[in-house]
């Protein structure tokens, strides 16, 4: 098995506002190996995006703060790095792809310039020919045809799918150890998404990058992630191999979520639905976060938060019912 590249230990991130402290991430732990794609799945406000931003230390200041935990990259706790050191890491060791390719690219610079900016900054190459070579190889990695001509294009001259690849090129240009992809395919059509995910897999095979894939779409998870963690209201409820999550999920939330997704391979008369809504992060219930909506809730669930228990190798659950 390949080595562990990134380890997140008991991460706590909160937003401090006039209304109070929003515990966006409340004790999250997971790891990712080289060449592996790890999925962070959950609905809106579950904390998956904030987790990604925390790893990059890109939280909106001064409201957002990492208040606890460790993030260990190749053995080093990056939360201990100075701002300057972190900036060197960002883009070169850890990189991020965001959801909207339209706003991720600067409309007034060419595609080549934007990739070059990353190359120059992190690889300290000044020779323009060398920089151009790097840019072309980054474009080629994401299978952009005719890269030597494309690098002179502006974003508006490219289609949506192509732009998303350019964003990928920028992120991969310095061959990072970890790539965090935050819902990169949500805005894409199904057939383009299929292309894009195939491309991701290809890039990963070539560069051995570890990918943390943040999404709400189980179809994407099934397609590209080897392991996945299900998040809810700032906590991870279940972590397992993808096939286990689909075939033998243990946490009631995971089970409910999987069942509520309509299936293309059969006709359902009615969908399983979970009552109610996710809790407000200001007013979290004292016990298990999912207790108010859980079909299998017990008394203890409402009082105490369940600990994370590894029920078999690689499969851990936070649930009082599962012991």
């Amino acid at each position: 098995m390949s080595e562990i590249v990134l380890k997140v230990e008991d991460l706590h991130t909160s937003f401090f506002t006039r209304a109070g402290e929003f515990k966006a991430v409340d004790g999250v732990s997971f790891y990712v190996r080289e060449g592996e794609t790890f999925g962070l799945v959950g609905e809106s406000a579950c904390g998956k995006t904030v987790t990604g931003l925390s790893i990059l230390r890109l939280l909106p200041e001064p409201a957002g703060k990492i208040v606890g935990g460790k993030i260990i990259l190749d053995g080093k706790n990056i939360l201990e790095l100075s701002k300057k050191e972190m900036r060197a890491y960002r883009g070169s060791m850890i990189s991020m792809i965001l959801q909207d390719p339209m706003t991720s690219l600067n409309p007034v610079y060419t595609v080549g310039d934007q990739i070059a900016e990353s190359v120059r900054q992190h690889q300290h190459i000044q020779d323009s020919k060398m920089v151009e070579d790097q840019v072309i190889s980054a474009l080629r990695l994401l299978r952009i045809p005719a890269p030597e001509q494309r690098l002179h294009d502006y974003p508006f001259q490219m289609s949506g799918g192509m732009r998303q690849r350019v964003v990928g090129s920028i992120s991969m240009s310095c061959y990072p150890r970890v790539l965090i992809a935050d819902e990169p395919t949500t805005a894409l059509d199904a057939t383009i998404q299929a292309q894009y995910l195939a491309l991701f897999k290809d890039v990963q095979k070539k560069t051995n990058v570890a990918i943390i894939f943040i999404t709400h779409d189980f179809g994407v998870v099934a397609n590209i992630c080897q392991r996945v963690a299900v998040m809810y209201a700032g906590k991870i409820l279940e972590t397992a191999k993808t096939s286990t999550i689909f075939k033998a999920p243990k946490h009631p939330y995971t089970i409910a979520l999987i069942h509520s997704v309509p299936r293309l391979d059969r006709k359902d008369d009615r969908l399983y639905s979970i009552e109610g809504q996710p809790p407000s992060l200001l007013n979290l219930p004292p016990g298990c976060r999912f207790a108010p909506r859980c079909p299998d809730v017990m008394d203890i669930c409402r009082e105490q938060q369940p600990p994370e228990v590894e029920i078999e190798e690689g499969h851990s659950v936070s649930c009082w019912k599962v012991k």
Partner: protein
């Protein structure tokens, strides 16, 4: 004989592209290019396709938000474009309502929920305040909300609840047809199921017809009785939903289904190899000659780039537009 509520015949909607000082028309965006479909009473037809396929444009024409370039819409057998203004107001508009995709922008943020739901009644009927008030309460209960929530503003609700309010508003005038444009794609996964179940229940309760615009095939399969797959302004395959999903024939339909299927990596066998299309949907300004899909089709033959395929009927209630010899 099927009870047809609405029929669209040879609908075309082209948008002019102009250039220059004198605004000369140099081309046309063929957003909807000759589509025909029928919606039966009490049943759901879904228009499926990716962005640029023309499905939202088609919906806009049915809602009379724009005027067709050519083609006819028949409502209960009568040609809608021959209705007088008064007839439209009393015969068509109250009977054809809509629920939009974005629950955050489909409601006036300055209006309370009770006014939002009441507006169709205020504009179209002469009911008293009391009558309207009780109707609003009734509608709220129908969609699973409490009547006392009528006093709140939209921003005080979650996305799922707002969609329920949108549905309540659409039902206010007892319509026969509700056009739903991506009704759940902006919602969280666990809320989608709630809303889809609700829509199905209401359909049964009030014998509603739905025209659903969607890009998610699984959603479509759950909701639809008939389905029409659109690509670049045209319908490439349509018919009874179960028929089409069980036996997809058009290469585009197959690719779409493959892209939407939930397959685990270990499950990938020879048959389950994903179909990955190359390139992207061309611009509707300059559609490819012949069959519009031929540039990306894995089964394309010579004839596909030259001739537009005719309609082939496959069994009961299933039609495809494709040159594949296996279909003849």
């Amino acid at each position: 004989m099927a009870d047809i509520l609405l029929e669209g015949r040879n609908l075309k909607k082209y948008y002019p592209v102009t250039k220059g000082l004198l605004q000369r028309t140099i081309g046309w965006v063929r957003a909807v290019d000759d589509i025909s479909f029928t919606i039966e009473r009490g049943k759901t037809l879904s228009l499926v396709g990716e962005s640029g396929a023309g499905k939202t444009t088609a919906a806009k024409q049915i809602l009379l938000l724009e005027k067709l370039t050519s083609g006819d819409i028949f409502f209960e057998g009568k040609n809608v474009y021959k209705f007088s203004k008064a007839e439209l107001k009393t015969e068509y508009r109250p009977r054809v309502q809509s629920v939009q995709q974005n629950p955050w922008s489909s409601m006036n943020p300055r209006m309370r929920v009770r006014d939002i739901i009441a507006e169709p009644l205020v504009v179209n009927t002469k009911q008293t305040k009391e009558q309207i008030r009780s109707r609003v309460a009734e509608l709220l209960e129908n969609v699973g909300l409490a009547p006392n929530q009528a006093d709140y503003y939209p921003h005080e609700f979650s996305g799922g609840q707002r969609q329920r309010i949108a549905v309540a508003r659409a039902l206010a005038l007892n319509p026969s047809l509700v056009v739903l444009d991506e009704p759940v794609s902006a919602l969280d996964v666990s809320i989608r199921a709630q809303i889809m179940n609700l829509l199905k229940d209401l359909q049964g309760q009030y014998n509603l017809s739905y025209l659903v615009i969607a890009h998610n095939l699984a959603t479509v399969r759950f909701m639809s009785h008939s389905v029409a797959i659109m690509y670049l302004g045209q319908i490439v395959e349509y018919g009874d939903a179960e028929e089409v999903f069980k036996h997809p024939l058009h290469p585009y339909t197959r690719a779409l289904m493959s892209a939407s299927m939930l397959t685990l990596p270990e499950d990938e066998s020879e048959e389950a190899q994903p179909i990955i299309l190359s390139g992207e949907m061309p611009s509707p300004l300059n559609p490819p000659p012949g069959c519009r899909f031929h540039t990306r089709c894995t089964e394309a033959q010579d004839i596909c780039s030259k001739e537009i395929p005719g309609e082939v009927e496959i069994g009961k209630r299933h039609w495809v537009k494709c040159h594949q010899s296996s279909l003849r």
